[in-house]
């Protein structure tokens, strides 16, 4: 009933490789950008200053209540208007993902910082450390270690989410499988292969996360 013989090396190179590359690149770039932007948002929210915390809170909660598909559609529609010149679907995807993921990463960073026991903060202060020193030497090193697993898990989710860029016709991994399936008349087999592909990649990643977690965990 199912026939996977159509899936040759040539098909892989012709249809899949480009999409795989794009999905990975999009994941990497938006993780990086999202982390930077997200950390800024988190620090704004933790600053205790209303004029910083409030916009950041609105942004984060707003982004988190809209589906990524809609965010993609919005950015696809609006970004060219805003920046005044056309950009491709790929670049739109990158901008959208950074903006979108920042909201999620900021929550991770915030939780990471808040996970540090008050006693640790007191201990740093009691040794005479300034706010900045305490953050840099005591809180952030622990916070980053604490949040690494959630952070990497989110990155895996992000990688899966790249499959949604089909709505703005960017060419991701899934897209490659879809087109290959349609053009070579084996759409069902192609979906199964896509599932296997994603599973292998994401499963290995999450397995690696577990290993890493055991390695960097603070001995308690």
């Amino acid at each position: 009933m199912l026939d996977f013989s159509f899936f040759t090396g040539e098909v892989f190179r012709g249809y899949i490789l480009q999409g795989l590359y794009f999905s990975l690149a999009l994941t990497a770039v938006s993780t990086l950008g999202g982390t930077v932007f997200g950390t800024v948002l988190a620090l704004m929210r933790l600053s205790g200053k209303g004029f910083l915390a409030w916009p950041a809170t609105v942004y984060v909660n707003g982004m988190r209540s809209i589906p990524l598909l809609m965010v993609l559609l919005w950015f696809f529609l609006l970004v060219p208007f805003i920046i005044g010149r056309p950009i491709g679907a790929e670049l739109t995807a990158v901008i959208t993902f950074i903006a979108f993921e920042a909201a999620y990463f900021s929550e991770i960073v915030r939780a990471g910082i808040q996970s540090i026991a008050r006693g640790q903060i007191f201990a740093g202060q009691a040794l005479g450390m300034s706010y900045g020193q305490n953050m840099r030497l005591v809180i952030l090193p622990q916070a980053f270690r604490n949040m690494t697993p959630v952070f990497l898990t989110q990155t895996i989710i992000l990688f899966q989410d790249t499959s949604l860029v089909y709505i703005i016709t960017a060419h991701d991994l899934l897209h490659g499988f879809t087109v290959a399936g349609n053009n070579l008349s084996h759409p069902r087999e192609s979906f199964i292969l896509a599932a296997v592909f994603y599973f292998v990649i994401c499963f290995s990643l999450s397995w690696a996360v577990k290993k890493l977690q055991a390695k960097i965990a603070i001995i308690r």
């Binding site: 199912l2 988190r64 598909l69």
Partner: protein, 254 residues
């Protein structure tokens, strides 16, 4: 760019503006974009609501069996379930349910598309609910399990009376984000022709060429839905709050 909200009062066929903005409805009656928008919202709510039920029920079972003592096989099945359903993108899973499963398992061929989407979204989310429930159960002090056992409860009983009630309370915050996620993720259902909000955004945006207005309306409905879920869960959290106990929180994911 001027916004033209009248587009929602247009008839979906002849594009004339209908007085009162609502069509006559019915199979052969007229329909405005507003009617359609609300219908699409209904579809979103139905898909998300049913999927949430599936996710909670299946997630509770899977999450529980992953923590059972002395039953490595059940735990293993539970672990694989979680790995399987969370390591494949939702969109791919929905395609599989829609296009592949009915061919492999003929019994599914006559299943309504809504049910297939609900399976897809529900089981995808069940993996995440299961993961949270497992974490919730494991976050309880080990002594709670021992205390239940020491009183003579059977495994089933101490899960039912001791562990699960507390575990579910602990995971209300992450469950809230899961419930909100399910609403958002239901947008993926449009890929298999569920006429929900994102489908509406695409189709009506195309037909009327008033993308901004249409997207805005749809976005607002998503935000309202998310907010409503959030309030409902806050209400549940409040109702189930244990006197004298401070709640802890979790987070992450979408």
């Amino acid at each position: 760019m001027a916004l033209d909200w009248q587009v929602f009062c247009q008839d979906t066929i002849d594009k004339t503006v209908v007085k009162g903005c609502f069509g006559t409805g019915g199979a052969t009656g007229t329909q405005t974009y507003l009617d359609w928008l609300l219908q699409a919202w209904g579809q979103t709510i139905i898909v998300a609501g049913l999927s949430l039920i599936v996710a909670l029920v299946v997630g509770a079972i899977i999450g529980t069996i992953r923590t059972l003592p002395d039953n490595p096989w059940l735990a293993r099945i539970g672990n694989w379930w979680v790995e399987l359903f969370r390591n494949i993108p939702l969109l791919v899973q929905i395609f599989l349910w829609y296009h592949v499963v009915p061919v492999l398992i003929p019994a599914f061929a006559k299943t309504p598309k809504l049910a297939l989407v609900v399976f897809g979204l529900g089981l995808f989310t069940s993996a995440r609910v299961a993961e949270q429930l497992r974490a919730g159960i494991q976050a309880l002090p080990r002594g709670q399990r021992y205390a239940g056992m020491a009183l003579g409860f059977t495994t089933l009983q101490y899960y039912r009376y001791v562990l699960l009630p507390m575990a579910f309370r602990i995971i209300i915050p992450p469950l809230t984000s899961e419930a909100m996620n399910i609403f958002k993720n239901s947008s993926v259902a449009f890929a298999v022709s569920i006429t929900e909000l994102t489908f509406f955004a695409q189709q009506a945006g195309e037909e009327t060429a008033r993308g901004i207005e249409i997207y805005m309306a749809v976005t607002v409905l998503y935000v309202i839905s998310a907010f409503a879920i959030n309030r409902i869960m806050a209400f549940i959290e409040k109702r189930s709050r244990v006197p004298g106990l401070v709640a802890s929180t979790g987070g992450g994911g979408h």
